[in-house]
Amino acid sequence: MNELSTNQLQKETPESRELVLEIRNLNKSFGDHVVLKNFNLKLFKGENLVIMGKSGSGKSVMIKCLVGLMEFDSGVISVMHKDITSLDQSSLDILRGDIGFLFQGSALYDSMTVRENLEFPLRRHSHLFDTSMDVDQRVLEALENVGLAHTLDLMPSALSGGMKRRVALARTLILQPKIILYDEPTSGLDPITSKEIIQLMQDIQKKYKTSSIIITHDVDCARVIADRMILLIDGTNYAEGTFEALSVSKDPKVKAFFKR
C-alpha cells in the first residue's frame, strides 16, 4: 500500500459507526498470478464504498470472495461479524439473504419471466418475511421501486440492457438486504441510463439504509455515489479516501484514474 498517499488522503473513518463488513489481509492467486495481496477493507453501516481499479486488478475476484462464490488463499472476511470461512453451507445461505449482489451482466434467469426471476430468491428465503405481505405484492413493490411494474410477465430477452439492469436491481432488493454489492452497475449502458441507475442506487440507499460496495470504472458514478473510495492497484488498496480528496491527489497512479 502506498503509505504516504493513504495517510494524506484517508478520510477519518467513522469508527463510531457500526462495522458491517471487514476484509483483513486477503490473498488470492491463480497459479503464479497474484491477484489480491494483503487486501483490507472496512464497510460501515449506511456507507457507500466505491472500489476503483484497472481491468484485471482483482475487483470482481474480491467481491466474489466476499459472498463465498470463490475460495481465497488466506485472510479473513467477516460479514455482519461472522467469519464466512467458519460457516457451514446452510449458515452461509442464510447470511446471503442479508447480502444483495448486482452482477455486471444482470444475470437474469433466461428461462424465467421477470416475475419468476423476482420470486426465485423470495421463495428461497421465505423465513425472512412475515406472512402479512404475499409474494405477488412484494414482487410488484420491488418492480415499482425501479419503475418497471409493467414488465412483470415479460421474458428477460424482451428487455433492453438498462431494463435488465433495473430488474436485476429489483431482484437484489426484494430480500431487503443489509449490504448490496454492485459489480460495475453502469458498464455497457448509455450515459442517460447510467444516470438513471445511479439515481436508483441513491434512492435505494436512502429508502432502505443499506451499506454498499460499488465496483466501477465510471468516475461520474463514483463522484455521485461514493462516501469513501478505495483504489485497488497491484492487488492492494493503494489509496483510500473521499472522492474529493483522491481526485486532487498528486500521485500519478491515483491521478490516472481521474484524468478525463
Binding site: 446471503r96 452482477f103 437474469l108 433466461d110 430468491p121 430480500l175
Partner: protein, 273 residues
C-alpha cells in the same frame, strides 16, 4: 557431431511422446472429473430439499420436445428395416418371420440405441448449451448468491429427468417403429394389424424387455450427466458454450456405445447362466 544428432533425435522422440501423452492425460483428468461429478450427483440427489417442481418441468421439456423427433426416427427405422430385410427373407422363404425379427431387433438393440443417440443430440446438447450459457452469464453464480444450491436445482433435476424420460421415449420410439414396420408388411404382404403384433409379442420374452429397459435407464443417466458436466464447467465466452454443447454430444455418443457394449456383454453372461 554424433552427440548433436543424438540430442536432436532424443528431443524429437520426447516431443512425440509428449504430444501423445498430453491428450491421454487430459482425457484421464476429464474422466476423473466426470466421476467426481457423478459421485456428487448421487450424494446431492438424496439430500433435502428436493426441487420437485423443476424436476417435473424438466421432464415435460425433455419428453415433449423430443417426442416428435423420436417418433419420426423410430417410424423411419421401422420402415427402412422392414424394406431392407424383406427381399432377403423372401429369398429364403422366411418372410413370415419378419414381425419377430423386427420386434426383437428393435426392442433389444436398435430402438434404445437410436433413441439414445437422437436424445444425446437433442437433450444432451441442449443441457450443455443451457448450463454453459448460464455459467458464462453468471446466472449460476446469481443462483448461488440467492441461497440456492445450483447443483441441486440445475444438475440433479436434469439428470433425474433424463434418466426417467429416456426409457419412456425408447418405449414410444419402439412402438412407432413397429407400427412403421407393420405399414410396410401390410402394404406388401397384406398382413393384418392383429397378426403382425401377435407375432411380435409372441417372439418377445421378459428377458428381451428387462435388459433393454435397464440399458435405457443408463443411457438416460449418461446423457444427463455428460450434458450437465460439460455445461456446468463451461469455459468462459460464447466459444466455450459452443464447445460445451458440441463436446456433450460427442462424449455422450461415445459413452452410449461403451454402455451398450457392457450391457450386451453382461446380458450375454446372464443368458448363458
Amino acid at each position: 557431431m554424433f552427440f548433436n544428432i543424438f540430442g536432436i533425435l532424443r528431443d524429437s522422440v520426447m516431443s512425440s511422446i509428449r504430444s501423445l501423452t498430453i491428450p491421454i492425460q487430459s482425457f484421464l483428468i476429464e474422466i476423473g472429473d466426470l466421476s467426481y461429478f457423478t459421485a456428487r450427483f448421487f450424494k446431492e440427489s438424496v439430500k433435502r430439499p428436493f426441487e420437485f417442481k423443476e424436476f417435473l418441468r424438466q421432464c415435460y421439456y425433455m419428453g415433449n420436445r423430443s417426442l416428435v423427433l423420436v417418433g419420426i426416427t423410430g417410424f423411419i427405422i421401422g420402415l427402412v428395416l422392414t424394406l431392407q430385410t424383406r427381399p432377403t427373407l423372401l429369398e429364403f422363404g422366411a418372410v413370415s418371420w419378419m414381425p419377430s425379427m423386427v420386434g426383437i431387433s428393435l426392442i433389444r438393440e436398435i430402438g434404445p440405441m437410436i433413441t439414445a443417440l437422437v436424445c444425446a443430440g437433442r437433450i444432451g446438447s441442449g443441457i450443455g448449451a443451457e448450463l454453459g450459457s448460464m455459467r458464462v452469464t453468471e446466472q449460476i453464480d446469481a443462483m448461488e448468491v440467492s441461497g440456492t444450491n445450483p447443483f441441486k436445482y440445475l444438475v440433479v433435476t436434469r439428470v433425474l429427468a433424463s434418466t426417467l424420460m429416456i426409457p419412456l421415449l425408447v418405449i414410444v420410439g419402439d412402438a412407432i417403429g413397429l407400427f412403421g414396420s407393420f405399414l410396410v408388411e401390410n402394404a406388401k404382404g397384406a398382413v393384418s394389424f392383429e397378426l403382425f403384433f401377435s407375432q411380435v409379442f409372441a417372439s418377445l420374452e421378459f428377458g428381451d424387455l428387462l435388459p433393454a429397459t435397464i440399458k435405457s435407464i443408463f443411457f438416460g443417466l449418461a446423457i444427463g450427466l455428460v450434458g450437465c458436466f460439460k455445461g456446468y464447467y463451461c469455459e468462459k465466452g460464447t466459444a466455450g458454450v459452443g464447445r460445451a454443447a458440441n463436446s456433450a454430444v460427442v462424449f455422450t455418443s461415445l459413452l452410449l456405445f461403451v454402455i451398450d457394449f457392457v450391457a450386451v456383454f453382461v446380458t450375454d453372461i446372464f443368458y448363458e447362466l
